[in-house]
Symmetry: D2
Subunit: 345 residues, 4 copies
């Protein structure tokens, strides 16, 4: 039995609580939130769970083995570091921290203490994204581009811009799906409310070779779009997360190159570029709730010491990209290099 | 009766010919193309039209009042300039020329001689784009952004990159729809075939104030998308050219700002950002074929001396953006300023 | 405070329980189910609610004012009648009973005792259906037809055919939305599994005047469709329940009639039938969860003695249609007349 | 070289003319129409084709080998019979005639004279329908149902009801795709304009065994739908003709039957019905214009004496269904038996 405390009961916390309650190997002991009015309904719904405003209570409870953090981004580092120092395993909502430096320190602290540090990159636990990874790595051939759009009329965050709020999902998915890692990022964007962070942004990620990634995020769009294209030399994928069941479509399409016979008026060296359009197929997907799978994996990681899919290193890579993108935003889109990933211990 | 000659009978030329034949005030006299095999079927289908490989024949025919050019981009300048110098009115397929300098010289030549110079920015003659312009200028309030995606598995051009082939449409539409003009452009892209121009690109256009435009074009996409979003302070538009009838949707959506009462733990100055979601409506559109309307307008311009909607100046503005975007491409996305528009004579 | 007991904790019961727990004026006292393994998780989640296998316990509890029934259709009559006779208000999952005769007896029993009898016609409490009713009754002009499709790969029921399982929703919506009542029904269908009820069916409902309704239901379809068309002389509606937000679209379309001038070869009396196509609009909808609204209305009905929207009479009308449709099925689609509705007491 | 005359230059005739002109083995000699104003533009566009108001001229021209008929349905029999008696091969727009009796006489006349009688069942020549036939006959297993919807705001015909205008397409497709033939048909419908034929209708077709077909046609619908579902024991198909490229989708879905272990409270004999949901795939389709393929096939049939895909027998089968459906309409939906098909000579 693993004792767990949850800190933060705003938008995401209730999902953590609901899923943790359904895990037989978990005893949810505490829910902690500063806004006590949020906790009113909790007692009624989960009478066996204790509630508190004081995070120290969770740290002090020796039956708490792990702490799940679902608080504003600016508080992730402090809460996670306190939890690690108190010897607790940590599960942090994305992004891991609000700077690469802090994320790095969390990674190091967890490694030093032999504790599990997991980041809640929810989407990589969906059947759709896992299937996309399989296909990208087995069937796409050379990867040409990754293009993602994540827009809707959404909640404006005050503490982070739209990149930290929405693009974080695309970066986490991309990091998981692609074999390559980006070497630089540029970003442009705009804030339409005085004094508030950017509510729309475009990110370009540069990779070694002839590959490019691009992400469009927007809190102020009239329609909801969640669509990713991955183009390869052999096949191409469309991942549309709003499709109820056929979220992944694989297109047997591409270009073909051939040397044509010389023709009057054409240069000799020009390749002839043709088309190949074949079948489309939509593989069946595992529809298990991602968060449920993810929390089971976190519990198994604690139990068996196996690092989770989205460990601190993954969280750190994503925070580095977010930080670089925000720096590029402030430099009118100038490309910012990404530091090479630290070799895992 | 206006005598017309058409030069270029490849992809677009047959559409010009078909529409010109249907105009009662036009006598189509010549079709000219270097590839004579293309002209074989023409005699059969339009027995009253003469065909030739020699462009000079059209220039020399005194009954030819106007020349329509549908040849590769690199030849536009030379053919149009010859036509103007021979005293002919000119209708050129987009883009007007392959450099801003040449486009400028065509504009000047036409002005000097009092001849009509029209550019075939087809889309601005559709019912959808004209309706979009009306709504943008009457109902959107302050314009926040313009975002367009034009992708599909398309013909790779050898002589121009995807920006000159596809983004030219978006730039022409944007130029027509928005009251503002961009001041700088940056572009990133990639070519996936050795020795060939870029087949995918992302353009960002910078405007005075808090406004941004972005265009995504790609010849190597698994699905066809033709979708433009225009966000404003009062309303937002989705223009989906692939919808059979409801191409324009107007969303009564946006954000609202209010000063909230001070709350524990929140900074005083923070505005509260709320949402407004109202009805959506799709106005009925005029479905007349754009090219037919456009050619009638060209004929009327010749007849009455009224400049057409897409005159040489419009063509020049678009070529400047294309040129600047291509320069930015070669500079890894560095922003390139657009020269202020020359004041029309 | 109204004491409530729920009987049946299979597919729908948990939704009743969750929503009842959220109503401050309700004290959920009992959950009753014969399959005790279903109740295992209940104790954990709702420790304050008692669980039992014995329905009599609920009847005997004087603090139980109302009973909500979510059991198989065949048991509705017996449980509801026992509850009414014990002086409890009753909320029954659709359909009210498995025969019109039993439904009639429940209606009479409730009226005799002055108890609320509500039927869970969930959809009529959605924002979409309520908006559709407003538009149908205010703007459609003369109603021409009502056409609904409700198909998917769905759970095969053993105890009722697809009409009692799926068409019941369409009939309840239609009954609520249209001002007219049908006078006869015919149905054809097919069962593809030996010994099991029909898994696909087509219903036609006849109305006075030039109006027709048609319902297509199917448990064995490759795609999910939930779409209703309502055609009127002035406007037409498409209600697509799978659309995330624009579920109701109103089309300003129709035909126009005029007497044309006599033409050679045409009969004199023939009217000229033209078209009118105007704007489409999608009104904003109230997105409150229907079941929550419905249960609040049930509680208010008990409290104030106001009959609910879907009272016993509505439930009875729907059961009469279901019974007549099933009779028609067994007669190869022969039309079966519907008895005129009994005048409410 | 095959000499052809076309009679009828209204909606469909121009398509016949355009496609016939493109066939090198055809010499289009005549276009005949009673409404001379329609023929004004023809001379301009096809100067080598003669035009006439007098059908006898075509019959008398010994260089006319075949006559293509695109006139109102009521005239098909008379024109086709005259043509056959004059020794001409005949290509008739659908439906073959306005009664089964007349259709039968045309079939007999053509057989007696050894002439080709082809019916323009256009859709069976599309890549989509041919692919659907292949899949239905190779992969669907036992066929459970065929369901088709063909609705839009369409031209009201004065001379035929919506069944003869629209359902004729579905019946022709169904006749081609399914191995089985229907044994009876019932139809209900409604006309909303006084004195005019039915503008909406629902057809049910009964087959031997557990199979059912259903067709919904409507000239007065707010949206255009062209969708067919075919359900089988092994796979299911959705054919959506409005999809630009993925018109045919094959779903590896269905039900599974197993004998479950006896459970408390369940009857012993009840089968357990489970689900199977696998991949979806959309095969690549041949996008050749159907009418072009069809006319080439007609010419080849004349040339080589091979009967065309849609010969007189196919035309007759469809007319029998149309006639039976109309009879059922007039009998409030009573099922009308279809005569068994005459054995081809």
């Amino acid at each position: 039995m693993i004792g767990v405390g949850v800190v933060g009961y705003g938008y995401w916390g209730p999902n953590l609580v609901r899923n943790l309650c359904d895990l037989p190997e978990v005893q949810l002991r505490w829910i902690c939130d500063l806004q006590t009015e949020r906790l009113a309904g909790v007692r009624r719904r989960y009478p066996s769970v204790e509630i508190t405003e004081d995070f120290q209570t969770l740290l002090a409870d020796r039956q708490v083995d792990a702490i799940a953090i679902a608080t504003p981004v600016a508080t992730h580092y402090s809460l996670a570091m306190q939890a690690l120092k108190a010897g607790k395993h940590v599960f942090v909502e994305k992004p891991l921290a609000d700077s690469a430096d802090k994320a790095q320190r969390l990674v190091e602290e967890a490694e030093r203490r032999g504790l599990i540090l997991a980041v809640d990159h929810t989407f990589i636990h969906t059947g759709a994204v896992r299937k996309m990874r399989d296909i990208v790595q087995s069937s796409l051939g050379q990867i040409y581009y990754y293009d993602s759009v994540r827009i809707n009329l959404g909640l404006f965050q005050h503490d982070v811009n739209v990149i930290w709020d929405l693009a974080v999902h695309d970066l986490a998915i991309m990091d998981y799906v692609l074999p390559q890692k980006p070497i630089a990022v540029s970003a442009t964007g705009m804030g339409h409310v005085e004094g508030e962070p950017e509510n729309m942004a475009y990110l370009t990620l540069y990779f070694p070779g002839r590959m490019l990634a691009h992400i469009h995020v927007n809190w102020l769009a009239p329609v909801k779009v969640r669509r990713t294209l991955v183009g390869g030399s052999d096949k191409m994928i469309v991942y549309d997360d709003l499709e109820p069941s056929e979220k992944i479509k694989v297109y047997d399409k591409g270009i073909t190159l051939s040397s044509p016979p010389a023709r009057r008026g054409e240069k000799f060296r020009q390749m002839q570029i043709g088309y190949r359009t074949g079948d489309m197929s939509a593989p069946q997907l595992d529809m298990t709730e991602a968060l449920s799978r993810e929390l089971r994996e976190f519990v198994a990681a604690i139990d068996k010491g196996i690092p989770p899919l989205a460990d601190g290193q993954a969280g750190l890579r994503i925070v580095r990209m977010l930080e670089a993108a925000t720096l590029s935003l402030s430099r009118q889109g100038a490309a910012v290099e990404l530091q090479p990933e630290r070799v895992p211990a």
